[in-house]
Symmetry: none
DNA sequence: GTGGTCTAGACCACC
DNA sequence: GTGGTCTAGACCACG
């Protein structure tokens, strides 16, 4: 279910776990009110140290995406789906803006950038949409 | 001359120094055959510890962008300009491709992405080009 | 286990550390998948500053011989044994070829060279093999 | 006349200059009693800093291979030819002995080493001797 | 003057 | 506990 965790790509593992859970929520793989798998279960699924998952769950809780229910587990918050979708969109927009800015700073012409984006989009969306 | 180093943005300082030197080379601020500022000089310019600059220079040397000339300094390699320009373009293309892929994975419609890119580009290139 | 580090034989200490680790891997003293001793441990074993060992480990990582696993240690790469064995053989062959070439350039007769090699080999392999 | 100086092969330039002069003497390109080219002249020939040549000449003088004659220049010593020839032979023997020892330490079989040496010698001496 | 190396000690993120 | 990074200051060989 989860794409693999890559321990050597520079992004902290706990951060990768957070992202994947958020993505799963944004994709409605987990719905508000449901329980997230237990720390131990998730750790096994992702082949990761349980402490790391616990830390990730803590972060998610701080962000209001999940809520701890004592003796029961971590529950998906009511507005988690929207939160995660919005955050994802915001992150993507940020990344696009930043890379375009760097392209401009690098003296790459607007046409060059456009051409490359077009090609890449055609490749990605060729079958769908 | 150099944009400022940000010591707490997660990217190691020696890495930021590397990037800025590469950018300067790509922009022909330093030409092949010239000498890079000495470790101590550059350290002062960038307000960074000389050892950190030394490490950066070591990395650049490993990448074949500069060459150490004993007792003289670090010399820009003959093909450094092209190397740096190519690498910069490659990095930007990679980032674009990756963010577009994530956008697609996030179910954001192609039109939405296009609209956002257009807006951003107009903002950036409004006066120039 | 490790031959001693000689701090004043001209070869940088971090380089000597690298070599010894490579030799240990080539000799299967460390097997793929195992963890190398920690930076601090190795530093103590070799009576060297931990930073120096850290640098050596960094070099080995760059060469693909070991991999850093965050919070865990440095892991011997899957193909490290072969890599190290091959590199060692390659280095020795290079040195032999270069010294023979110089001998020829120095007008030393082929017979002279042969005689000397024979004598040296008999001395070295007298008991073994 | 002189093979080129390579400023980035790790061997100090003054050391390379020394060797080349010694080789020239061993090869009787300079004969006892003759004058070596002046520091400035040699520096130009070898495309090297005059200070570096001066240092090399100093070393050669210390080794008794050349003698300073005030107001005249550096004179090749009477026994320089033999000294240089002997030293060259000694250096080559040392290198052979050391590489054979390392080969043995690396568990490479005596036969393997012999086979490689034979092949290399045939390649080098194929036309001559 | 240059870069290269080593040491020392500190702080960080991660597991 | 682990490796990674940064700083500080020292010494060296080289040109």
């Amino acid at each position: 279910m989860f794409p693999v965790i890559d321990p050597q790509n520079g992004i902290p593992i706990f951060e990768q776990v957070c992202r994947q859970v958020k993505f799963a929520i944004a994709d409605k793989a987990y719905l508000p009110g449901e329980l997230l798998p237990s720390v131990r279960e998730m750790a096994q699924k992702m082949a990761v140290n349980p402490n790391t998952v616990a830390r990730s769950y803590g972060e998610l809780q701080r962000e209001g995406i999940i809520e701890s229910v004592r003796g029961t587990g971590m529950q998906i918050a009511a507005d988690a789906t929207q939160l995660c979708q919005k955050e994802r969109k915001r992150l993507i927009q940020e990344r696009i803006a930043s890379v375009l800015q760097e392209a401009k700073a690098s003296q790459i012409s607007r046409d060059d950038v456009n051409r490359f984006i077009e090609r890449e989009m055609n490749r990605l969306w060729k079958n769908s949409q």
